[in-house]
């Protein structure tokens, strides 16, 4: 369907503009993209894709929504193994090593070689570029990048006698403030929790990375073969998650990623830790006064960088690579990136985007959008290694077993480290 519509648009656009399509090579692009947040993301991606197709009537592009991040990676890799890879896809930044090992992507720095291209690549925030680079080459272009931020209900803060303009900044404050925010009904059942940190699955592991960064450590390095799961910082981070539940500030058991924004909107919790990519969803649906702050930290502020990058696949012709690069340039251009950022809340990945009048007006209207950008200097790359899915699973199991009360932090993390080392020893 999408394909037909795009084709129709590009044909009609070609007819209108009287472009002689024969002079240019005509490419059919397939573009896989995931949606990881509660936002009308599919519609925005489709609009942007259609615009590029209208501007480039010789080409066609079909934007294929492929589920959440992990499903999209699975789908793209399966298609690539079957010899039918998409030309371009937005996939998790942390899947870099998997994609390199599977030998399915091309370094974009090998395609974008002109001086103009190099200048373009240098125009992104370095923090977002770093996790797309390996062995001196740039494999990925930042698109839907984010850090988690602390969303809080200002009305709930006022009701609890707290200052709505100063959210907690440390773990200690988080627990104190959280206690004041937790409300119970006549039966002693909690009607409003102090906070909610997703602790299940990949989303849980992502936020856990932020806790570790705030304890002045990292889970991983740029080598792709190092997992630092069993350190004083990780143990302290996991103990903090347990403490939140033990102090009655956060619901015991595991918290899912997907339900977290809903729980906030429904007033089940007075604050949440979730992606800045949920900003638009919260803004649209919140029926109360809300604010955004840095994630409360252990020793200082700290957050993981997350989200998705553009990748170009290997199984492509010269012409397709050129077209794909042009498409990526369009999608990350100030005008497109501004629209994407405003529609979702993702951090626009280039400083020039923030200078557009649209973004200026947006930040004026919604100053909360600036918090993730301001937090960026305190953020580190998300956990990524070779065989990322397998290695992260050890971390996920450790976090889940502790928050569900089936293991102790130190023991669980030691076990995770052993598992990760056994996988990564093959690469050393």
């Amino acid at each position: 369907m999408t394909f037909c519509i795009n084709k129709a648009i590009s044909f009609s656009a070609a007819a209108l503009m009287g472009v002689s399509a024969t002079a240019l090579s005509a490419e059919d692009l397939e573009f896989y993209f995931p949606v990881g947040v509660n936002a009308p993301a599919v519609a925005t991606i489709q609009e942007l894709t259609d615009e590029w197709a209208a501007m480039n009537p010789q080409h066609t592009v079909s934007a294929i929504y492929s589920g959440n991040y992990e499903e999209t990676t699975t789908k793209a890799l399966t298609a690539a193994n079957a010899g039918d890879a998409p030309q371009v896809a937005v996939l998790l930044s942390i899947d870099l090593f998997t994609l390199i090992e599977e030998d399915v992507i091309l370094p974009i720095s090998d395609i974008a070689t002109s001086a103009e291209d190099k200048e373009w690549m240098a125009g992104f925030y370095p923090a977002f570029m770093k996790d797309g680079q390996f062995e001196g080459k740039t494999y990925a272009i930042p698109f839907q990048r984010s850090t988690p931020v602390f969303y809080y209900n200002k009305d709930a803060f006022r009701a609890a006698g707290l200052d709505p303009e100063s959210p907690p900044t440390t773990w200690k404050e988080m627990i104190e403030v959280g206690k004041a925010l937790t409300l119970k009904d006549a039966n002693g059942n909690v009607t409003q929790w102090g906070t909610r940190i997703p602790t299940l699955g990949l989303g849980g592991a992502w936020l856990f990375g932020g806790l570790v960064v705030s304890m002045d450590d990292v889970l991983t390095t740029e080598t792709g073969i190092e997992a630092r799961m069993d350190t004083p910082a990780t143990v302290a981070s996991l103990e903090f998650l347990l403490e939140l539940a033990n102090e009655g500030v956060m619901a015991p058991g595991g918290n899912s990623w997907g339900d977290t924004p809903k729980a906030f909107l429904e007033g089940q919790t007075a604050s949440i830790w979730t992606s800045t990519g949920n900003l638009a969803f919260i803004e649209k649906n919140a029926e109360f006064d809300w604010g955004v702050g840095f994630l409360p930290g252990g020793n200082g502020p700290g957050a993981p960088i997350g989200g998705g990058n553009f990748y170009i696949f290997q199984d492509t012709t010269e012409g397709e690579r050129e077209a794909a690069l042009d498409f990526i340039k369009f999608m990350t251009s100030p005008a497109s990136a501004a629209r994407w950022s405003i529609a979702t809340g993702y951090v626009a990945p280039r400083p020039d985007t923030w200078e557009t009048p649209e973004m200026q007006a947006y930040v004026e209207r919604l100053p909360q959008a600036l918090v993730a950008l301001e937090q960026l200097p305190f953020a580190e790359r998300e956990f990524a290694t070779f065989q990322r899915a397998k290695v992260t699973q050890y971390l996920v199991d450790a976090i889940e077993s502790v928050v569900t009360g089936n293991a102790e932090p130190a023991g669980a993390l030691r076990k995770a480290q052993e598992g990760a080392d056994s996988v990564l020893s093959e690469y050393k």
Binding site: N187, N189, G253, G254, Q268, F386, Q387, Y427
Partner: protein, 291 residues
């Protein structure tokens, strides 16, 4: 019309089903067996013969042990409960109570919905605090339960969904079986002074036995085959509390891209299902006839 068929057309006719059987059943099974003796090669790890390494890894795999326990609990829990519920519903809609047409429809409705849709609906029911289940608990002054976020309740919550989904289909089989129970047998039993419960236990239930075996076989197959709701609702979590064998195979093979270990797990599953099939056929042959 008694002309004997020559061998040639017989062979042609057999080739197509045989080719399909080989292409989609035997070839993949044999390839899985072969792959299970190799390592998981990639551009950065050369391919090599691994011998029984994958099988040794399987024996030492804590997650697999947990998954097998889960699968056993899941099968032993869902199959009898779904059958019991199906018999109950079939008796209800087979009675002369008013509104049986509506009841039949509503009991059968879950079966008609795709599992992915069902899982999404239940995801909302189970959501702590905001979900239907929590709202109902709230009416009685009970605290909300994080059904899918606790290791104690996650598997049970999945089983509940499966039973709710499956029982309607089995009800149809039982309804057909109930309607074919000869009334003269029941009348004869009543003449002998048997009460309604006695008639059910001694006359109706034995006649339902072939249906029960058929349904049990199908339910057991589904217990291994259906994992859509696991993917949608918990992704096997928390801490693998709701991971089932087929889901684990999917995760290892396609998410973690460990095709060698995935093949090893597939061999395990084929062997397990083979053993179950042998037991069931043996039961079918022994217990399903009443001449």
């Amino acid at each position: 019309m008694n002309k004997r068929m020559t061998t040639a057309p017989a062979i042609i006719m057999l080739v197509i089903p045989c080719a399909i059987l080989v292409a989609f059943t035997h070839y993949p099974a044999i390839m899985a067996l072969i792959n299970s003796f190799w390592n998981n090669a990639s551009s950065r790890r050369p391919s090599r013969f691994a011998g029984t390494e994958n099988y040794q890894a399987m024996l030492a795999d804590d997650r697999l042990a947990q998954v097998l326990v889960n699968s056993t609990i899941y099968a032993l829990g869902t199959v009898p409960l779904a059958i019991g519920l199906a018999i109950g519903m079939a008796l209800l809609v087979n009675s002369r109570l008013p509104g049986t047409a509506f009841m039949r429809l509503s009991f059968f409705l879950p079966t008609m919905l795709p599992m992915i849709a069902v899982a999404n609906i239940w995801l909302f029911f189970y959501a702590p605090g905001i979900g239907l289940a929590s709202q109902i608990l709230g009416i009685f002054g009970l605290p909300s339960i994080n059904f899918l976020g606790q290791t104690e309740t996650a598997l049970g919550s999945m089983m509940f969904v499966a039973i709710w989904k499956e029982a309607g289909l089995f009800m149809i089989f039982y309804l057909a079986a109930l309607q074919s129970v000869p009334t003269n047998l029941k009348d004869a039993a009543k003449l002998e002074g048997a009460g309604r419960i006695r008639v059910f236990i001694d006359v109706v239930l034995p006649l339902l036995r072939p249906t029960t075996i058929f349904v049990a076989v199908n339910a057991l197959i589904n217990a291994f085959r259906l994992v859509d709701h696991v993917v949608v609702m918990t992704e096997g979590g928390p801490n693998n509390a709701s991971a089932l064998l087929l889901y684990y195979i999917y995760e290892v093979t396609f998410r973690q891209r460990d095709f060698a270990y995935g093949a090893t797990l597939t061999v395990l599953m084929v062997v397990l299902l083979g053993i179950l099939a042998v037991i069931q056929f043996w039961l079918l042959n022994r217990k399903a006839h009443y001449q």
